[in-house]
Symmetry: C2
Subunit: 173 residues, 2 copies
DNA sequence: AAGCGCATGTAAAGGGTTACATGATTGC
DNA sequence: GCAATCATGTAACCCTTTACATGCGCTT
């Protein structure tokens, strides 16, 4: 994240509450030790110190090279380790009414989330520096989040149909 | 997973290479200690011992109640902590050709994955006990995986358009 | 002077992966 | 007898979360 410009641990913490945090949450107990580690490894450096003990870090050339190496050379992990999907595997253990209710709520959560990120995307589209690569990356990530939540919303509707009452109906054990 | 019937650690390990493993991978070093822990807590019990030290576990009433409690009472985690999305946030650090290539490959990976799970889904649809709740749950989880990979494939195509050449073009720093 | 938000840390515990390690049975 | 597969485990390490803990500076 420091490749976008210098920042303190506190700055990063707040940034993690916005776009990147939607995708990869992190809180301060993870951030501060990691900044220390990266500094020891020479991938980032203290760029300035401010009031209230504030330390601002900047990425080094070695750090930038390492990010680029990671992006270009490491294998992509395509697994979908999503808790709602795990739940869906075992949802049959609940009584039919509870299944119905659960999927209903899920569908509505997903639609809310999709709407929230659509707003964020609109804000990005409006705000400055519209054609920069960095901006377009952020926008692309947001687009993925929007599409995935939309897909999950439609899936929850579909699942409700599929799980719904049936002739035979083995129920919840 | 033992709510579907008794199984040994080895059985579970293999099952994790199939449908549940697509969603929540786990390997044997996680499985065996966990079986020990669950047994100590009375949520599962040794149902039988076979040759080659094989121990088959079955879920207890307390265990079943605990799964149901988890499904019904705990908050759902809706975050999308997906590595490809994290990568997309920083992809602008690569040169345009590399971005193009990366997104191209991603799109193709997602289409392959979607196709693979469509086959699995077809196998489930064909195979026995077609209307059972358990079967329908598995099928629903597979449907989610298929739809998500399909959505990611289309997103990668879209992102390629969006990231592609532009008048201004701040490039990779 | 009190309270808020800025700012940084540590400790303990849980979850997950990789590597190391071994024993038992079956089929060729 | 040998290889493959069944079957189970441990150790070390990394990542993440929750809880505990503290100090600084501005505003009212």
């Amino acid at each position: 994240m420091l490749s976008e410009g210098p920042a303190s641990g506190y700055d990063l913490m707040r940034r993690f509450q916005e776009v990147p945090g939607a995708i990869w949450p992190a809180q301060h107990p993870q951030i501060y030790p990691e900044l220390g580690r990266l500094e020891r490894e020479g991938l980032i450096e203290v760029e300035s110190e401010g009031s209230r003990r504030r330390k601002s870090y900047a990425i080094t050339d070695a750090g930038l090279a390492e990010v680029q190496r990671w992006l270009a050379e490491t294998d992509v992990d395509h697994s979908l380790r999503l808790q709602p999907l795990l739940r869906s595997v075992f949802i049959w253990l609940l009584p039919p009414e509870a299944i119905h209710q659960h999927l209903q709520r899920e569908a509505s959560s997903y639609r809310n989330l999709a709407a929230r990120y659509r707003l964020m995307a609109a804000a990005v589209d409006r705000s400055g520096d519209p054609g920069s690569s960095h901006q377009r990356s952020t926008r692309a990530a947001l687009e993925a989040v929007i599409r995935l939540y939309a897909a999950l919303a439609e899936w929850a509707d579909w699942a409700q149909q599929t799980m719904a009452g049936h002739p035979d109906g083995q129920t919840h054990r």
